[in-house]
Structure formats: C-alpha cells, structure tokens
C-alpha cells in the first residue's frame, strides 16, 4: 500500500515539474519572439525616417552625393532583407548603421544644417531610434541566452527535446563598418 502511495506521489511531482518546465519554456520562447518583433518595429521606424532625413539634408549637402546615395542604397537593401532570416537581416542593418553614422559625421561640416530645427528634431528621432534598435537587440539577445540555456541545460533540455523547442539565433553585428569608428577629415 505504502509503495503505491510513494509511486503516486512521485508521479504527481514529476507531472508538476514537467508542467512548470514546459510553461517556462513557452514563456521564454514567447519573450524571444516578442523581443524580435520589437526589433522589427524599430528597424521599420528607421527605414521610414531615412527618406525624410535624406530629403532634409540634400538641400544643404551639395558635395556629399555619394554619402547620401550610400545611405539610400543601404536602406533599400535593408528593407529587402526584412523577413530574410536573422543572419541576413542583421548584416544588412549593420551596413545601414555604418552608412548612417558616416552621414552624421559629415553633417559636422555644415553649420547651417545643424541650425535647422527640422533637422534637429529628425536627428533626435534618428539617434533615439538607433538607441532603441541597440536596446531591443540587447533585450533580444538576453532573452535568447536565457531561452537557449533552458533548452540546452539539464534537466529542462530533456523536456525541450521531447516537445520540440529549438535554440534561437543571436542577433550579432559582425559588420566592420559598424565596429570601427569612421574617420573624419577636418581640413
């Protein structure tokens, strides 16, 4: 009789552990998905801001056609990469970040532009969007780390394996353009 009770007890405890682990996995996976959606929102915002920025800046910057074209091209490429998987998208966005920061450096040479209210407001939006992108990336990567730990570490990995939870991909920025500070020539 006692043996039966013990077995029942063990089974109940196991079910509770299974249940809690499974729910925990689902919660983390949703968090990862959510965090990714947040990155997408911010990237879209950046894509929407850029044509505006280029329009505002064009009138002042007669001699920077190449820089502006680079930004526009990078933006179009990044927009095409949307939905093309984490790897492709992070690469395209990295290129765009590089082009943008080169543009913002060049702006330094145009005092008239820096006094333009419209441009200042745009610039605050752009800076903040860049920050939001990096913060949402940061939160996404933190979430992925937690989720991956859970799917790969014992004992939750057993349950994750049985119920089909796969590790997620990190959002890495491995583009040279974003990593090294752009060179500025004040001559």
């Amino acid at each position: 009789m006692i043996a039966v009770y013990i077995i029942i007890g063990v089974v109940v405890v196991l079910i509770i552990i299974l249940w809690a682990t499974y729910n925990g996995l689902v919660r983390l996976r949703n968090q990862v998905k959510n965090a990714w959606a947040q990155i997408d929102v911010q990237l879209k915002r950046r894509h929407d801001l850029i044509p505006n920025l280029v329009e505002t800046v064009r009138g002042y910057m007669r001699h920077e056609r190449e820089t502006l074209e680079a930004v526009t091209n990078a933006r179009n490429l990044a927009q095409k990469a949307v939905g093309g998987g984490v790897g492709a998208q992070s690469k395209a966005e990295g290129e765009l970040s590089g082009a943008l920061s080169r543009l913002l450096v060049v702006v330094e040479n145009y005092p008239d532009l820096k006094a333009n209210q419209n441009f200042l407001a745009l610039q605050e939006e752009l800076t903040s969007t860049e920050n939001k992108i990096s913060f949402s990336r940061q939160f996404y990567n933190d979430s992925v780390l937690k989720y991956n730990n859970k799917t790969q570490m014992f004992p939750s990995n057993v349950i994750a394996g049985m119920t089909g939870f796969r590790a997620s991909e990190f959002f890495e920025v491995e583009v040279a353009a974003e990593k090294e500070a752009p060179k500025v020539g004040f001559s």
């Binding site: 913002l104 450096v105 200042l120 605050e124 752009l126 939001k132 913060f135 949402s136 780390l145 500070a181």
Partner: protein, 404 residues
C-alpha cells in the same frame, strides 16, 4: 527575469516580516495594556493596516503624484525625455510604456511609482531635465525603471504603510497609557495583580516608544538595499554605468531641496530629497546609501555591466566580503560587456547645449501652465498668460502688434 527578483526579495521579505511582527506586537500590547482585551488590540492594529494598505495599493500612485504636484506630459511636450523612457522600456522588456510626469522644481530628483509594471509612472523634476545630458538622464530613467521592474515601488509602499500604522498606533497608545496611568488607576487598584500589571505596563510603554524607531530602521534598511539593486540594474540596462555615476554626482552637488517631498515619500526618490548636515552618523537612519559611495561603486565597474561586476565593485569599495546582490541574482545574469565605444561624433552631436535644454524646459513649463506662445519676427517668444482677455499683444522688443 523573475528568478533574480525573487532571489533579491528574500532578504527584503525577511525585513518586511519583521515589521509585520512589530505591528502585531504593538496590537498585542495595545490590547493588554489599554483595552483590556488582546483580541481588540490585534483587530484594531490589523484593521488600520488593512484599510491603509488597500488605499495605498489602489490609489497610492495617484495620491503620490498629486502630492508631489507632478504634471503628466505627452510625447510632443518633450520628445527627448519620451524617447529616453521608451529606450529604457525596451531595454528592460517592460510591456507597457510608463506614464511620464514632470515636477516644476529646480531641485534635481526623480521617482517611479505604480504598483505593477503594467501600471507604472516615472516623474522627473524640471531641474533634472535642464542639468543632465542624454546619457545621464538615461542612467536616471534606467534606475527608475529598475525600481518598477524589481517591484520596489510596491514593496516600499507596502512597507511605508506598515511603518505608518506602527507609528500611528504607538503614538496613540503611549498617550493613552500615559494618561491612563495618571488618571485611571482602575487596574492598579485591584488587589494582588497590581505588581504584574505594572510590569506589563512598563514593558508596554518601553515597547511603544521603541517600536516606531525599530520600524524606521528596518524601513531604511530595505530602502538602501533596493537602491543598490536599482543602481546595478540601471548599469545592466544601459550598459553604461558612467551615465548614472555622473548624473548622481550632479544630483549630489546640487543644493536645492525638493519642495513637495516629505519624510514618508523620501525613499521613492532617486536620491534623498533632504540634505542633512553631518551625514557620518546618519548611516542607519538614511533612506539612501551615500551618493559618493554609489558613484564610486559605479565607477569601479571596470569589467562589464553585469550584476557580478557591480558586486565586485561593491566589495572593492567596501573592502569586506559581504556583497549586496544575492548570488542567485548574480548567476541569473551572464557576463555582460559595457557599451561599445560608438562613433564619437554620432553620439555627441545631437546633444543640445545646457542653454538650449534650459530654454526647452522653460518653454515646456509655460505650455503646461496653459500659456500661449507667439513667435515674434524679431526672435522674441511672447508668452501670453491664460487669463489674458485682450485680442492683441505688442512685442516689447520691436513693437510689432500680434493678434492672440
């Protein structure tokens, strides 16, 4: 996220339980010594606590915001502040955008309120908006969002209610005991039990006097612990401890006192709103750790922005083995690097100068007070008060007439 918060709350919970025990003891003594019925004392104590808790839980944030004369702002009122709050909302993974309030006060301070992350508000003084640059403001907002995320707001308001109940009960009980002993003498006249009654009375009075003091000390201890944790979390969110460190330095250097703060609401702010002279002895009775120490810890975070780095920095500054963040919380956050050095020009450039910030904030305050602004051709901004009844106004600089 939950693991770390739970782990951190264990120590706080112990302290809260200690405060609860104080409340029950007070109720007990009240019953024994004053009301002649233990049950009545307990019922009164718990009843008062319950009513105050419910009020604090459901209306606490609006009462607090009203008390500090905070005004809610929208996105267009101050885009930079709104953006920074949104950035920290994203970094912390908060689901709902907190409401943003401004307090018209030159003092430098900020607080967060709201019982849950779904119902949170962040308030900053107008002085803060003027004096801090973007990175510093970000550090402060991250600290406030950390309070929301770590559920400190709920914890501190519940503790505040416990403290308040204890203080009120002790206040009335000591007076009732005192006058009862002088005028009453009903119990002490009954034969035999007099001696024992007297001893209980003496213990009761001593306890009533000491209980509020203990309650205050516990409350302050909880508050200090949560401040360290919020600082560590702020560094983790921004990946840039220097922002908060230099903000705290500016906050500490300012001499202005917040007019709308009081003793009970002090722990809610980012720094203690009251400046005291002779801080050395005030360690135990302070709601916040000394600013210089908080700055030193943040500046010692050389290796990264994780809790482990804050913990190491804390040990380095204090030169003793005990840390402030529980090991479980430290373990739940992996290694985290500091913010990579971004292209200098791209970061520094959009920063408005101090003069521009001041103008921005004062324009905002005029607008919030329903003043109308007219831009005159000569560059003057005319502020028309809401009570102004006329239809025309003359620019004091160039004499042009504007219609209102």
């Amino acid at each position: 996220m939950w693991e770390q918060i739970r782990a951190n709350q264990i120590r706080s919970v112990i302290l809260v339980v200690a405060m609860g025990a104080l409340l029950i003891l007070i109720g007990y003594f009240l019953g024994v010594a004053v009301l002649d019925s233990t049950i009545a004392g307990l019922v009164i104590a718990i009843g008062i606590w319950l009513v105050m808790s419910l009020i604090a839980f459901f209306r606490g944030d609006s009462i607090f915001l009203a008390l500090s004369r905070a005004r809610k702002i929208k996105r267009d009122d101050h885009p930079r502040l709104y953006n920074i709050v949104e950035e920290m909302k994203i970094a912390s993974g908060l689901e709902k955008m907190p409401d943003i309030y401004i307090i018209d006060d030159p003092a430098l301070n900020a607080f967060a309120t709201g019982r849950s992350p779904e119902r949170a508000s962040v308030a900053v003084t107008s002085g803060l908006l003027q004096k801090l640059n973007r990175d510093e403001l970000q550090g402060v907002i991250a600290h406030e969002i950390a309070h929301v995320k770590n559920r400190d707001v709920l914890l501190m308001s519940m503790c505040g209610v416990l403290l308040g109940t204890i203080v009120i009960l002790a206040f009335f009980a000591t007076r009732m005991l005192f006058f009862g002993a002088i005028f009453g003498g009903r119990r002490s006249s009954s034969a035999g039990g007099g001696q024992a009654q007297l001893i209980i009375l003496a213990i009761g009075i001593a306890f009533m006097i000491l209980a509020p003091i203990f309650a205050y000390l516990i409350y302050f201890a909880i508050s200090r612990k949560r401040e360290y944790l919020a600082d560590a979390t702020s560094a983790l969110y921004t990946r840039y401890p220097e922002g908060l460190a230099s903000a705290l330095e500016k906050l500490g250097g300012s001499k202005a006192e917040l007019k709308s703060a009081n003793k009970a609401t002090a722990p809610m702010y980012i720094i203690n709103p009251f400046r005291k002279k002779g801080r050395a002895a005030a360690d135990l009775t302070s709601t916040h750790p000394p600013i210089s120490e908080r700055v030193r810890i943040l500046r010692s975070m050389a290796g990264g922005a994780a809790f482990a780095d804050y913990e190491n920095a804390y040990r380095q500054v204090h030169k003793r083995g005990k840390g402030v963040i529980s090991p479980a919380a430290v373990a739940s956050v992996g290694a985290v690097g500091l913010r990579a050095a971004e292209p200098e020009a791209a970061r520094r450039e959009p920063e408005p100068s101090k003069v521009e910030r001041t103008r921005e904030v004062s324009d905002l305050m005029w607008r919030l007070n329903d003043y109308k602004t007219i831009n005159c051709g000569c560059g003057t901004k005319l502020k028309v008060p809401p009570k102004f009844k006329g239809t025309r106004v003359k620019c004091p600089h160039c004499g042009r007439i504007h219609s209102v």
